[in-house]
């Protein structure tokens, strides 16, 4: 699709990030009740029972009713709690969860400029150089919501849940980083839009028909040899505290884990944070390994559908996978969780990264995807070029 540069005298390209922002926040807020409904219905189908069927057609309005109810529930807080931090923890959870989605590549928009040229602008809130690192940084702050909620409640179950949760989050962050590094090694950039671009070529550089360009076979799930996508998927489930890695809120042993003492909307905020995190990590999974907004085959009915629809479809696929796993697997034991994270995935990820590096030794040097000079620059050179830089103004 090609858009004009000016619509009604408004210069469009600089507004694209804000369109992405409004779209992301609006979509998340709109889909959240739907997600909970989808999860309940899918699990009900898998377990051969009815699921929600009272409020609205097929129980569709159940989650909305729940949200309204939670708003009007009593706002309780235990008197032995550290009240400021007790309120800060759900706030931090929501803040980190919503801000993490800021670099996801939804689509690329093409503008027909007034002077006849074409300009492509990524439909991303912030298409920044550190890209993936931004998501990792923000989700590394998510640990505070868990550990502070556990500590501030002054409840034994909460503290145990908070500790378990934080140790789990930091353990799986390592494996997650290593899996992403495998993709970064091949794409040569951390910027998510350019990682998507790196997946739009022919599969493995083979001379195949046009239809396979940027198809499902040239995405990085296959390109990096399947192991990274497996590691990433396991780590992303652990990072969002979902079954079978839901030890921080294991209801059979810890009541509700770190949010035992939270009621009304404060509880719903942890819930919201969890679901938004699921959307964000599924979105990252889609962008890194599943081609982001690229259609699965480069032929006409697929290419007509706009990219963000494909992106959302892939994210929803991730959400379905989450639900599927939850209905299938029992919870892990804590020592098994630590064993998997530290003794299996961490060394495997590191060894695989080096294997990929050895494999790509034979490849010809790729053109740098970042707009950064190839030559190293020293600080002294930098100072010497200063007067020139000034002279150019």
């Amino acid at each position: 699709m090609i858009f004009p540069e000016f619509v009604g005298g408004v210069h469009l390209p600089p507004l694209v990030p804000y369109i992405a922002l409004a779209g992301t926040i609006g979509f998340i807020l709109m889909i959240l009740p739907g997600l909970i409904w989808i999860e309940r219905v899918v699990i009900a189908l898998m377990q051969d029972r009815s699921g929600p069927n009272r409020v609205g057609p097929r129980g569709l309005l159940q989650s909305t009713a729940d949200v309204v109810k939670l708003f009007f529930k009593e706002d309780m807080s235990p008197k032995s709690a550290d009240i400021k931090i007790y309120y800060l923890a759900p706030f931090l959870t929501v803040l980190c969860a919503f801000s993490a989605g800021g670099v996801l590549p939804l689509q690329t928009l093409t503008f027909h400029l007034a002077n006849g040229d074409f300009q492509t602008v990524p439909l991303t809130v912030g298409d920044v150089n550190i890209g993936v690192l931004y998501i990792l940084a923000v989700s590394s702050l998510q640990v505070y919501g868990v550990v502070l909620a556990g500590w501030a409640s002054n409840n034994k179950y909460s503290l145990l849940g908070g500790l378990r949760g934080s140790a789990q989050l930091i353990s799986y962050e390592l494996s997650m980083g290593l899996a992403i590094l495998c993709v970064v090694l091949f794409s040569g950039t951390c910027q998510l839009n350019k990682i998507v671009d790196a997946q739009s070529g022919a599969p493995f550089g083979l001379p195949l028909p046009e239809i396979f360009n940027g198809s499902i076979f040239s995405w990085f799930w296959l390109g990096t040899g399947i192991i990274p996508v497996v590691i990433y998927t396991i780590a992303m489930i652990a990072e969002t505290n979902r079954a079978p890695f839901d030890l921080p809120e294991a209801e059979s042993e810890l009541i509700a884990g770190f949010h035992t003492e939270y009621s009304s909307m404060k509880f719903a905020m942890f819930f919201t944070g969890e679901y938004v995190s699921m959307l964000v990590v599924s979105g990252l999974n889609a962008a890194l390994f599943w081609g982001g907004p690229l259609p699965p085959l480069n032929i006409i009915p697929f290419t007509l559908i706009p990219g963000f629809v494909w992106f959302i479809t892939k994210v929803m696929g991730g959400i379905f996978f989450y639900t599927w796993l939850r209905a299938t697997y029992p919870r892990l034991r804590y020592d098994a969780l630590m064993h998997l994270g530290w003794k299996r995935m961490l060394p495997l990820g590191l060894v695989w990264l080096f294997l990929l590096a050895v494999v790509s030794l034979g490849r010809s040097p790729a053109k740098s995807a970042d707009n950064v000079p190839e030559k190293p620059v020293t600080a002294t050179q930098q100072v010497q070029t200063l007067p020139n830089a000034v002279a150019h103004r």
């Binding site: 150089n129 550190i130 930091i170 930098q382």
Partner: protein, 172 residues
Amino acid sequence: MVTVIAFWVLAILSVVASIAMVVTKNPVRSALALVGTFLCVAALYILLSAQFIAAVQVIVYAGAIMVLFLFVIMLLNLGSPGALRERGSLQPVIATGMGICFLIALLLSGSLIKLRLPAGARPEVYEPLGTVRGIGINLFDPKQPWLFPFEATSILLLVAVVGAIIMAKRKV
């Protein structure tokens, strides 16, 4: 203009957070104030185009080291209010004196050392240096002097591993 406003907001926020960190009696809140300072500093790095360093600041300092701090505070059960009450110590007096000395030194150095820039020149940020690629090219280039420090870092980390195990495990 945006940069200037952002700088002042972040600078004031980071100073307020650092003061809160020193003043707060409750160790957990103090640690949280320090996290706030780190985040403000990360945002200041972004203003300086040091994007990679900003990400590292958040991932390593705010996301890893401060979590360890919180764990230690909880491990030693310092979390209860008033657990860290200092009695009859000279520490506050000495700290205030040192702080005043540091401020005087800062003011003196500001008036004594002048930045030598050509007339009309403004200190400028070389933007590509702060990106992930800019750091990588400079860090791993054989002609640059960073090769040895980089490899030495791994030995430092190895020593840290051994130290952590020896301190934390009773039966080594």
